[in-house]
Symmetry: C3
Subunit: 420 residues, 3 copies
């Protein structure tokens, strides 16, 4: 079945992946070295803990986040891990070269790997928007281009606009979301007319087990989000505030998500996929300003607004994104990361502008913050468009549109009947 649709990727994928992997090994062999041992055992323990939290978020959280499409669970988890493993290697090199461009050897330290894991989450977010429409070679290309573009954006923000490291990294959500949506738009195609509509609809439906797996992924992200938001802050008091604010914002957005979702259904039933999207929105929205907020109510308001926006976006995107733009963002990247990320950016700018009132000297900084947010969105869309164009090339042997959102294109099944 299906032998006429997908061009075989039998040699294509191993060829590209192994070539890339060998190239990476050679670069690592010539240009990297490990950190000289430093004495501070305690700090290493702390950094290692955070790194582990990140890996749980990246591998388990983002992996299972999009398993709710009933026919696409294996690809979600499997491809996610592939991209994570690849992106971390590339990000380690790239970050180091961009930060210290004229050194002979890149020094690999725990905090560099931690940062690389953080950066590679941008790929995982974007991939959520594209998953189901691209094969693994395409995703590999996307990962490399996106890591490079994100590295470039970070470099411009830090070196030219001079924004601090925490803010730069918190732009990851808007960058990744708009990158992913643009790529997804480029890969969208009208279905061939002769196709069974019912099968197509059924593919993107949720099922009982698959939604529980998605809930598992969402919960991992929800639990470890405070680690993510506080990781790059240096001062102890700022880290503590970041943990507090993220915690309360997430709590409020979980409550909001569940309750408001009922409002959007004629019979008051809750949509679990909307809840998945919206309960993380609070963490995203509070990200850029989490270290500045000094009282829980502000972060709770942000969480409430993020939850409302995310549920609204999840409900509207069926019409706006999926029908009009044909982006087919079934996993709700726009609702979870796009709009709440923008909200978070605005909140940070408003908070800085409010401080200008007391201290006019930082007025210039507000402008740079606005510029930085715009840069992230613009770079995301521009590099996404570029990636989309590249991915539409014939050489990647993309899956046929009729095979979108289907594990069977990529994975060996014992036989077709064993589906559920």
């Amino acid at each position: 079945m299906g032998s006429k649709y997908p061009p075989s990727v039998r040699c294509w994928l191993p060829l590209w992946a192994l070539t890339l992997e060998v190239a990476l090994i050679l670069i690592f062999a010539f240009f990297t070295t490990y950190d000289v041992p430093s004495g501070n055992q305690k700090q290493i323990l702390g950094t290692y803990q955070v790194l582990q939290d990140f890996t749980v978020m990246a591998a388990l959280g983002f992996g299972f986040l999009t398993t709710s499409l009933r026919r696409h669970g294996w690809s979600s988890v499997g491809f996610n891990l592939f991209m994570l493993a690849l992106s971390v290697q590339w990000a380690t090199l790239l970050d180091a070269v961009l930060e210290q461009p004229f050194q002979k050897k890149v020094i690999i330290s725990l905090s560099r790997i931690r940062l690389a894991t953080m950066s590679s989450m941008s790929v995982l977010i974007s991939a959520d928007a594209v998953l189901g429409k691209a094969n693994l070679v395409q995703l590999m290309v996307m990962a490399l281009v996106e890591m490079t573009a994100f590295g470039g954006t970070r470099w411009i923000s830090r070196q030219i606009i001079r924004v601090n490291s925490h803010e730069v990294t918190m732009n990851i959500f808007v960058f990744a979301a708009y990158f992913g949506l643009t790529v997804s738009w480029c890969l969208s195609r009208a279905l061939p007319s002769g196709l069974d509509k019912k099968v197509q609809t059924e593919k993107v439906q949720m099922a009982r087990s698959s939604c529980l797996f998605a809930m598992l992924g969402t919960l991992f992200l929800w639990i470890f989000w405070p680690s993510f938001n506080s990781a790059l802050l240096v001062k102890g008091s700022e880290r503590k505030n970041a943990v507090f604010n993220t915690y309360y914002a997430l709590a409020v957005s979980a409550v909001t998500a569940t309750s408001v979702s009922a409002l959007a259904h004629p019979q008051g039933k809750i949509n679990l996929i909307h809840v998945h999207s919206a309960m993380l929105a609070g963490g995203v929205a509070v990200g850029p300003s989490c270290h500045l907020i000094s009282s829980p109510w502000l972060s709770m308001v942000l969480g409430l607004m993020a939850g409302l926006i995310a549920i609204g976006a999840a409900k509207c995107q069926l019409v706006c994104l999926n029908r009009v733009l044909e982006i087919q963002d079934y996993s709700g990247v726009h609702a979870t990361f796009g709009l709440p990320g923008l909200l978070g950016g605005f909140a940070y700018i408003v908070m800085m502008a409010h401080q200008v009132y007391w201290n006019p000297l930082i007025g210039y900084q507000v402008l740079t913050d606005v510029g930085d947010l715009c840069l992230a969105v613009a770079m995301g869309m521009a590099s996404g468009l570029l990636t989309g164009v590249i991915l539409n090339l014939k050489i990647w042997r993309a899956p046929h549109e009729a095979k979108y959102f289907d594990d069977q294109t990529f994975w060996e099944f014992p036989h077709l009947a064993v589906g559920l």
Copy 2:
């Protein structure tokens, strides 16, 4: 389908939840402030780790613990998170007010959030007994009443009976179990005669995937239980003993649970749901005395007894609780938390009485410990009865009995056939 049964909760749930959320935000705005930064970075790291362990237990562990009912998985996980997020907010305020009643501003610190997460586990335990019989508005009311009642019980124990913080918190299991069972009893109703018996039986059966999800939740609780039992102990040696004893008690009760479960079946087959109940019983039973036991064999004996009792209770409750009292405790709250909690309480009292033999001065303390345990059970039942009466009011628009234990009452499904 079903349109005549459940009164719409379309506006009901959002109305109540958002009103409550806004009220909480206002209270937080006027009466809370963050902790002033203290210098001890190391301690913060440790507290944060424990808080994270707790959140994993609460969100993942308790969430997936009761997914074994095949038609009720989404509600188990979704409602659990909703209640956790809400209870933590309420508990932070309540604990602070009860502890330092005449302060102008409540100071929010990491250890207060940790304690709030601990307290809100009582709601999650009780909800396991009620799940499937109440809608989200009812559960919300229950969470608020229970947190308040538990806060009150804690306050009486600490301020009037003068029991230490660890013991007070370890009563959470008996309090929560008997609270939940009483509420569940109030909500139990005979099935309407015209109903399809087969569908009703099928609803409370386990299925292959759903039991694996329940196992996942149980394992998370099993793994992180030592963190729970040792969290409130201050002295390093006591914490270490608590970890050791909990670890061994859990190991023995897991072995006992699996093997004795086979004895209860005519063909020697093991019942996975009984195992879920019983393997956690060891951790519950060793809780109150885990810091006092100075040799592993005692905690192992406690684990063995707890495992035996829990399997016995799980087997008997089909007759005693479910048929006679019609409580329908399908998730085994009584077997996991009720009876083992009582066993733990008795073990602690015996251990204290044994010390009286050597040091008669602490004789009075044994009495207070007995009183404290009775107080927890009595308060649990009394406030449970009150809650049950409140939840039976018409204004909450409770689901019809025919819709008990069914996700479809609350969640949007693509269509009914997509079940498994």
Copy 3:
């Protein structure tokens, strides 16, 4: 159904398990005591974290790793926990007696429990090869014999061959793999001729949900593997190197596994079970030498080779192991732990031999390392053969061959139709 096949284990299992448990409690009562409190709070925190990582790996990781057989998920997870809980108790005693043979009381400390958890992973690995062919009494016997044999191997390595603690423990993979495969070979039997071939084939197939559970287990192992490889190293710089090298080896083997798996299928489809096997191979292969490698490229090469070997082994074993030797290693123990473990052993020896060139004095040590690796394989096979012979005795009431790989032999199902 099936009433004539499986001899009842109704009393058999509880009888043996409870007797053993009581015996263990008595031994603990007379011969163990807890650690005297030491002052170093920080170190305790670190050890506890690592212990928790190990428990997650052992209970969740190894538990869910082999759930991909569609009819065997409950047994995989349930039996795994039973064996873990039992082995840890036995290992605590055994390790202590072997290390300090003439002490009156065994002192139980956190690091001893950590080591016991590590040792008991050997049982979990072997059990993966045997699972589906043995009942719980047999697995219990196997766990006791294997822990004793592994304890003996460790003792010979440490006391007679004088290998350091890290190397000794890293031999766990080859020991456990060849032990398990030998036992599995002893329990393999030709199917009775009158049996339905289709049912037998269907049993060992993967299904959609069960493979996602297996992915979950694999990811837990993948994430926490750096903790495993670095746990027994004392020096901070060695630990850090171990974490780095394991991290990169795992990343490369994940990429390799996914891409090369496509090469092995005529239509270029990826086999998820092969990927499960191969993505962990990197961590196994880098284990023995992870603290010596001072540049990432070497560990990446090891990861690449391990991934290739594991995919090759997974593909070939269908012919070599399963058909010729009739071992039926469906969960890929040989591909994940056996061959990559040997590769890791060779890599370590080559690395040591390379150092001989510069420092001929350590030439003798290379010989001991070769001897140590051979000892692990030989002891694994010898004790596996012994265990296999013991397990074939009639008294354990082994399941009938027709009931291999089937949960229904051991677990209570509501009714047979509720399968998926």
